[in-house]
Amino acid sequence: MIYREAGQYKTTYVSDSQIFPIAQDRYAVAALLVIAFLLIPLFATQYIFSAILTPFLILALATLGLNILTGYAGQLSLGTAAFMAVGAFGSFNFMTRVDGMPALVAFILGGICAALVGILFGLPSLRIRGFYLAASTLATQFFVLWALSKVPWFTNYSTSGVITTQKVQILGFKFDTPQSEYLLVLAIVAVMALMAKNMVRSNVGRSWMAVRDMDVAAEVIGFRIMRTKLTAFAVSSFYCGVAGALYAYCYLGTVEPEAYSLDLSFRILFMVIIGGVGSILGSFLGAGFIVLLPVALSIIVHYTGLPNSVTSNLELMVFGALIIFFLIVEPHGLARLWQIGKEKLRLWPFPH
């Protein structure tokens, strides 16, 4: 009976429309934020910051973006990495070409570039559905990466194709250590995740879900399909774009098209599926799982003492097998497990 909302009366409209209506949820989120902002920086090492925590947060943001599109609006996309690339290159160009451009504004502008590209490539979704749409989003992936590597203007006429990013500086403070980069990413991700959590229960989010569940019916009861689908593409691409910019500036330190390959798109799709389609929390769980799994696997396989070529293939196999296993055991993802756990907590210690 730890987790129960009994006795929490809503007496004002404000308290009735909070993002987390249950007090325990609010405490849990606040505690998580305190741990992430204050405790983790005290204990974590450089390696943990730059190899696990920062990529986890950035990929969670991208997963969130894809989850908005796939989980909430029901449009399957295989072009996530392309939108991330647009965000990264957009931010890079704003930073390069505009003097004194603040980093945060550049990230947001990069996200807006991605949103515009998202709207453009979202247009086919008005006619095409399901796997036909998924396969056509591959057009985004290939076309965008081709354009970024072939049009020299995007890379500012760099000859190598690999550009080192500018240092991120906000109000005179330089974000150049793994720890400060982690805190920057954490702040952005926390704000955007709360915004997403709020958005999916607003009229926008509800219209997405209506279109996802049955678009013809949604149209009949008065949702504007075009607007709904395109806002989903725009918002999703904005999230992906910001994630892409952070991926370049706070994780890789370089801007290059090769970093945003189809492989990354698939990994993010995995995160959505493993975490839970249509769940904000699931985006984080899925990203955590997929980021940690290869790390854990390589540590385990390392101790077996097999040659390198064998271990890398073994890792591939275990990765694939685990994904299939997870899909068979819990097709609704880790978020569903968490939900079941909450239901149990509600009744505990009574069986019914």
Binding site: R127, V216, G320
Partner: protein, 303 residues
């Protein structure tokens, strides 16, 4: 347009069409599985790679001729097909199609890892005994360059399609396959063993993958990049329709031809390398006119 330019055009077109036949071969495996079980099988490319590597690996390691290695490969692919159905798909029956799709991506990783674990990740050559030289008779007569290998590959594809058509239309198992493709539940009701039929479909798709793998492998070498052939087959599928065998072939021809023509005639103006995305954009534009592809079943949506 002078005659030389015309000949060049014909050469490019022919090369494109014949490459398209090879794309169609990969797409064929996709179509069969999608039609019969509604699974979008992303692992088809990995199966092509696995099949080619198995045959090349067997003939390399044990020094046996292809006459022995290929039948072993066929058996391996059939066993693999049944295993996939039993282990991966059966527990996932009735799940959302995105879940099934993700499972096949997991399968892709597994098969790629398994193939390289068994046979190593070195590039292997596969010599089918067909030389990749221009077809002499045609050059003498018309001056159009067509590779002999491509022609024979096209011939093999034709044979395969004919054999599949026979299997589908003239045998008992073929009738069961078509029944299942039409309506799972109705097929179950009249007593068709659904799981067995799905196993057969995966096995046949494995066999098609083997043929595709042998042809692609002997041309480009058996290496990891064979898995990317699957990505080439996707625009063929969306153009032709996911559920249509003729669609896969016509789509393959169209994609192959336009891709080569675009690369040769448009590519130089925009910096080249457009082969990677042009088929997708073409297929995408086409879908805007006909959302279910050329020969796909029209989707009727009810509330």
């Amino acid at each position: 347009m002078d005659i030389e330019a015309l000949k060049y055009f014909a050469t490019v077109l022919a090369a494109g069409l014949l490459t398209g036949v090879m794309y169609a071969l990969v797409a064929l495996g996709f179509v069969m599985i999608y039609k019969a079980s509604g699974v979008f099988n992303f692992a088809q490319g990995a199966m092509v790679f696995f099949a080619a590597l198995t045959v090349a690996g067997i003939s390399d390691k044990f020094g046996v001729s292809l006459w022995i290695a290929v039948p072993i490969g066929v058996v391996v692919m059939i066993v693999l097909g049944f295993l996939i159905e039993r282990i991966v798909l059966r527990p996932l029956v009735n799940q959302h199609e995105i879940t099934l799709f993700m499972a096949t991506i997991g399968l892709t990783f597994f098969i790629e890892g398994l193939a390289q674990l068994l046979w190593g990740s070195t590039v292997r050559t596969l010599d089918l005994g067909i030389q990749d030289v221009p077809f002499k008779w045609l050059i003498d007569r018309t001056g159009i360059l067509i590779s002999q290998f491509d022609l024979i590959a096209a011939g093999i594809c034709g044979l395969l399609v004919a054999a599949l058509a026979l299997l589908f239309n003239k045998t008992k198992i073929g009738r069961a396959l078509r029944a299942v493709a039409d309506d799972h539940q109705a097929a179950l009701t009249v007593g068709i063993p659904l799981h067995y039929v799905w196993g057969v479909v995966w096995a046949v798709a494995g066999f098609v993958a083997l043929v595709a793998g042998l042809l692609w492998g002997s041309r480009n070498g058996v290496q990891f990049s064979l898995t990317f052939v699957a990505l080439k087959a996707l625009p063929v599928l969306i153009l032709g329709g996911f559920t249509s065998v003729p669609g896969a072939i016509v789509g393959g021809l169209i994609i192959g031809a336009t891709e080569k023509l675009a690369e040769v005639y448009i590519g130089p103006f925009v910096g080249g390398g457009i082969e990677g995305w042009f088929p997708y954009v073409l297929a995408l534009l086409f879908l805007l006119v006909r959302p279910e592809g050329l020969f796909g079943e029209k989707i009727i949506r009810r509330i």
